[in-house]
Every structure is written in structure tokens, then in C-alpha cells.
């Protein structure tokens, strides 16, 4: 995966900022995507390109269990979120949807807005092509990788039932 970084170094970016509840009267993913990060950065949807990355601080996605948060940022084309850490329900939702939520210590201080990044999920490496740096992240547990490879939890479940 290759794309540009949108850096929000703050901690505790919550689901109300990722997709405000005023839009939860629908589960239409295209509609949700139009409001991704609206209360954090109203300009985000206008500037994000397909395959770009969100880079953030600790506890990204805290708050509500709304999977709409994952759908909104996935729907607007974000390839992965790279954060210092994730809130647990967001992380589960991401894995279950087959969306990479990558925990990478120090990343919010090393990457600058607009840096071009390449993410290698198998190798557990983020390459900063703009700066010529590499950052390692802990690879996903096997179980999570299997779900993500299957394309999500339901596909995994169905595949297992064979």
C-alpha cells in the first residue's frame, strides 16, 4: 500500500469526531464517507486521495462502538490508520472489516503531514519514502491476519464452516 500521510498527532481522537452521531441515521457507506473526520478536520474529505493514510496519536477511535467510524474512513479511500495505539472496539471493528489499523510506536512524531508512505503488512514495516526512513510495527496476531486475509470476520466464519 502506498499513499500520503494525513497527520493528526493528537491522542484520543474519538468516534464522535470520526463520524458524528448526527449522521448515524443511515448506514449508507458512501454517505458516511462524505462526513469522515468532519468534526476533527472539516477539510479532510476534500483533500484525501484514494490509498492515503491517517496518522494519529494514542487511543485512536475511542468512544462509541459504531463501526460506521471504520466504514466512513474506509469509504473515503483511506488505506490504513497508523496510530500509537487504538481503542479496543475500533481495533476489533477494523480487523473484522478487513481494514488495517496499525499500531506503530513513535509514528505520530516521525511522520509529517504530506509524507509519502509505503506500508508492508506482511513485513510489519512502514517506509517513509519522503524521508527515507523505516518504522517497524508489531505484526498482527495470526488470528487477526487470517480474518483480514479472508476479507473480514463473516467471510472467515463462512470459510471455516466450508
Amino acid at each position: 500500500m502506498r499513499g500520503y500521510a494525513h497527520v493528526y498527532p493528537r491522542d484520543h481522537i474519538n468516534t464522535d469526531e470520526i463520524i458524528p452521531a448526527r449522521y448515524l441515521n443511515t448506514d449508507d457507506r458512501e454517505e458516511l464517507a462524505r462526513h469522515a473526520l468532519e468534526d476533527l478536520d472539516p477539510g479532510f474529505v476534500g483533500k484525501v486521495k484514494w490509498g492515503d493514510f491517517i496518522v494519529a496519536g494514542e487511543n485512536f477511535g475511542c468512544g462509541s462502538s459504531r463501526e460506521h467510524a471504520v466504514w466512513a474512513i474506509q469509504g473515503v479511500g483511506v488505506g490504513a490508520v497508523l496510530a500509537e495505539s487504538f481503542a479496543r472496539i475500533f481495533f476489533r471493528n477494523a480487523i473484522n472489516t478487513g481494514f488495517p489499523a496499525i499500531e506503530c510506536k513513535g509514528i505520530s512524531r516521525k511522520v509529517e503531514d504530506g509524507d509519502e508512505l509505503e506500508v508492508d503488512l506482511e513485513a510489519g514495516v512502514v517506509r517513509n519514502l519522503s524521508k527515507g526512513e523505516e518504522y517497524k510495527f508489531s505484526p498482527f496476531p495470526d488470528f487477526a491476519l487470517e480474518i483480514m486475509k479472508a476479507g473480514g470476520l463473516l467471510e472467515y466464519l463462512r470459510g471455516r464452516e466450508g
Binding site: L40, G63, S64, A87, I89, T97, F143, L153, L154, L157
Partner: protein, 419 residues
């Protein structure tokens, strides 16, 4: 083992489990509401997996945007309703008999000690107050559990929260949990089970305990849990004839950390915008003018909460410039509040009293804030834009502090209003 480890082991046919292990556990009860369930149902339908593992173990109530606030929310509620009919799900609570899910399920006797409960709502951790393992999940997890009756869990580390001392006048379980979150932060218990213990827990009513476990997720926790005692058993037996199993933590159980709070020195707490961890004792709050007060929610909309609010508001008037909105959490709470004369106290004081809804807590309806407005609320989150405009502000308090603030028109100390 801890109570949490024992419950998860028993539900995954293991003798023992430890923190970090992945288990696939049988789920005893699934909670569904109007925002997160319709997408889960669509996922199953789209994949030809449209079945439910056991309609008796599923409880459904529309609560977030009901009575429907607009056409789209009405469509969500319709999809939910039609799905329950299609699958013969009996435990469906239609508007008028409905309630905020986390108040409704314990009240109706669905939650019992030793169960594994999941719900597609982050505050599903509430049910742990009855000695169950209970956690919030997203829509895909919900789809998986509706289909299979099982779900994968990483066994959480446990944090012991020891509450000792005597609760001073005007200080309630809401103030205690705001203090705990102030100390450990909104990710202080990330991925953990928060196990509340200590002499104070025994003294609290079951309703007050539900407020403690409700906000475990605001510290990042996977679950909150309280070992059952006589009060728990009395509460459950009044509501259910079903058998249950009591688990308690071993004396030598391993805890990742321990937080001790002597509640004797606590004051009423106010969590400032925009995090639940930004709590301050009321004496350090200063003069903060407010526009709205909300008393209700899964955190503080039960009967005991309304009684406390009414004690403050009886014979008083809310400040002329201010809107006070009182929302009994369930239809049953509403009816009992009416019988006890609480609703008359509220309306007499100048409050709006609503049918049960999550509405204003998440900026849905029934009390959305305009730009620059400030609200004192007994709810659980005060993130940016939580109750409306991104430039509005939410201050989290107990029902007593919220009621006192409604009268004063500013954030006020409830101890001045209590006999």
C-alpha cells in the same frame, strides 16, 4: 483466576484461561438497538447468512433515535422491527414499552451473574454490575454472534478498583467513577476488565453500581465487573426465575494494576470538555454559565437517579434562561416516576420530561446544542460535538449536581440544595 477469567473459561470449555489468550466463547445474551443492528442484519442478508442462533437469547429495543427523529431513522427502526418479526425474536420492546438498552435489560431480568453478554453498543459494559462478563462490539461482531452464538475474545488483564471510606453528602457513584477516570485517564484501563471492589461497592445499590460499570469504557476498558453479593441476588431474583452461576475472583488472582480511592474526601465532580477524564471537584469549578441540563441516559436515568434529582428540584424552579430535560431511562422507570410524583416535581420546576431515548446524549435529537452552548449532563461522554455543534460544550455530573445547576443556571454544588 479473576471473576472475568473464570466466566470466559467456563464459556469456552477451558479449565483455565489467562490474560492475552484468545478464546471463542459461547454468548448467553445479545443486545440489539436501532443504530448498529440494521447494518449487521444487512451484512448477514447480503451473504446469504440470514439466520439467528437462538431468538430467545436476543433482546431488541430501539432507543437511540426513537420515537423516530426523521425519515432515515424511521427506516432503520423499520428494518430492526421487520427483522425481529422474521426471526420470531420475542424480546422486542416497541416504542412505548421501550427503554434505553442498558437500563432495560437489567431491569427486565435478562442479565444474570456469570453470563457472557455482548451488545452492539460501547456501554454494554454496564451489565457487569450484576457479575456478568459484558462488553460492547461493532456491527460485524454482532452479525457473527447473531449467526453463530459465539465470539472471539482476547482474555483481558484485570484492573482492581478498590473503593473504600464513606460517601459524603452530595457525592454519588457518578462522582466516584469520574474521579477514577480522572486518575487513570480515558485509556487508563485500555483492553482491561475493571473489577470494582471495596466496602463502598457493597454499600451502593445495584442501580448505583450500574453507573460505575457503565463508564468503564470511558477509561478504555473492555468490561466493568462487580462480584455478586446479596443485593445483586435480590435484584436478580426479583426479576428472573432463570438459573445462574456465581463466580468470584480467587484471593490470589493476578491483577495488572490496582487503583485505590478513599471516597471520604471526594466532592461532587464535574468532567470538563472534552474528555470524561477532565474531572474537577466542584469547589474548583468557578462560575460557569450554562444553557441546558440533561438528566437521563444509560448512565444516570434510573429511578434512583430521578429520585435524587427530584429531591433537589422539589419546590424549586429552573433558571429562566435555561432548558432542563429529564429523560426516564425506561418506560417502567417513567411509570414509577409518575406514580411517585417525581414527574410532577420536574414539570412543576419547569423541566421538559421526555419518553425514554438516548437522543441528546449523542447529539441525536431531544436536546441538541447550538454553537457556543453549554450543557450540564448526567450522560457519559463530553467529546467535541457530542451533543450537537462542534463548538458546544458538555460538562458531566451526577443527577444531583445537574439538578442543582438547572436551578442555579450555572454549574452549582448540590450540597447547598440537599437537606
Amino acid at each position: 483466576m479473576t471473576i472475568t477469567e473464570k466466566i470466559l473459561a467456563a464459556h469456552s470449555d477451558r479449565d483455565e484461561v489467562g490474560p492475552g489468550e484468545l478464546v471463542e466463547a459461547r454468548v448467553d445474551l445479545v443486545m440489539c438497538h436501532d443504530v448498529t443492528t440494521p447494518p449487521a442484519v444487512s451484512m448477514l442478508e447480503e451473504r446469504g447468512m440470514d439466520r439467528v442462533f437462538d431468538p430467545e437469547k436476543i433482546v431488541v429495543t430501539p432507543d437511540h433515535f426513537v420515537p423516530n427523529k426523521d425519515i432515515r431513522s424511521a427506516e432503520l427502526a423499520r428494518r430492526l422491527r421487520e427483522w425481529t418479526r422474521k426471526h420470531g425474536i420475542r424480546h422486542y420492546y416497541e416504542v412505548g414499552r421501550h427503554g434505553i438498552c442498558h437500563a432495560l435489560l437489567p431491569e427486565e431480568g435478562f442479565v444474570r451473574p456469570g453470563m457472557v453478554v455482548v451488545g452492539a453498543d460501547s456501554h454494554t459494559c454496564t451489565y457487569g454490575a450484576l457479575g456478568a462478563f459484558s462488553t460492547g462490539i461493532g456491527s460485524t461482531d454482532l452479525a457473527a454472534v447473531l449467526y453463530s452464538g459465539r465470539l472471539w475474545f482476547r482474555v483481558p488483564e484485570s484492573m482492581r478498583v478498590v473503593l473504600e471510606g464513606e460517601l459524603p453528602k452530595g457525592v454519588y457513584s457518578k462522582d466516584v467513577i469520574l474521579e477514577v477516570i480522572r486518575r487513570i485517564g480515558v485509556d487508563g484501563a485500555r483492553y482491561m476488565a475493571m473489577e470494582f471492589t471495596g466496602s463502598i461497592v457493597g454499600k451502593l445499590s445495584v442501580e448505583a453500581r450500574l453507573t460505575l460499570t457503565n463508564m468503564a469504557v470511558e477509561a478504555g476498558a473492555k468490561s466493568g465487573i462487580i462480584a455478586p453479593d446479596e443485593k445483586t441476588l435480590e435484584y436478580v431474583r426479583e426479576r428472573s426465575d432463570e438459573p445462574f452461576h456465581i463466580y468470584t475472583s480467587d484471593p490470589d488472582a493476578d491483577y495488572a494494576s490496582t487503583v485505590e480511592v478513599d471516597v471520604s474526601s471526594l466532592e461532587p465532580m464535574v468532567a470538563f470538555p472534552h474528555l470524561p477524564s477532565k474531572g474537577r471537584p466542584i469547589s474548583e469549578v468557578g462560575h460557569i454559565h450554562i444553557d441546558q441540563v440533561v438528566i437521563g441516559s444509560c448512565t444516570n436515568g434510573r429511578l434512583e437517579d430521578l429520585r435524587i434529582a427530584a429531591e433537589v428540584l422539589r419546590g424549586k424552579k429552573v433558571a429562566p434562561h435555561l432548558r432542563a430535560i429529564v429523560i426516564p431511562a425506561t418506560s417502567r422507570v417513567w411509570l414509577q416516576a409518575m406514580r411517585e410524583g417525581l414527574l410532577e416535581v420536574f414539570v412543576g420546576a419547569g423541566c421538559a420530561v421526555s419518553t425514554p431515548t438516548c437522543g441528546p446524549c449523542l447529539g441525536g435529537h431531544m436536546g441538541v446544542l447550538a454553537e457556543g452552548e453549554r450543557c450540564v449532563s448526567t450522560t457519559n461522554r463530553n467529546f467535541v460535538g457530542r451533543m450537537g455543534h462542534p463548538k458546544s460544550e458538555v460538562y458531566l455530573t451526577s443527577p444531583a449536581t445537574a439538578a442543582a445547576s438547572a436551578v442555579a443556571g450555572r454549574i452549582a454544588d448540590p450540597r447547598e440544595f440537599l437537606c
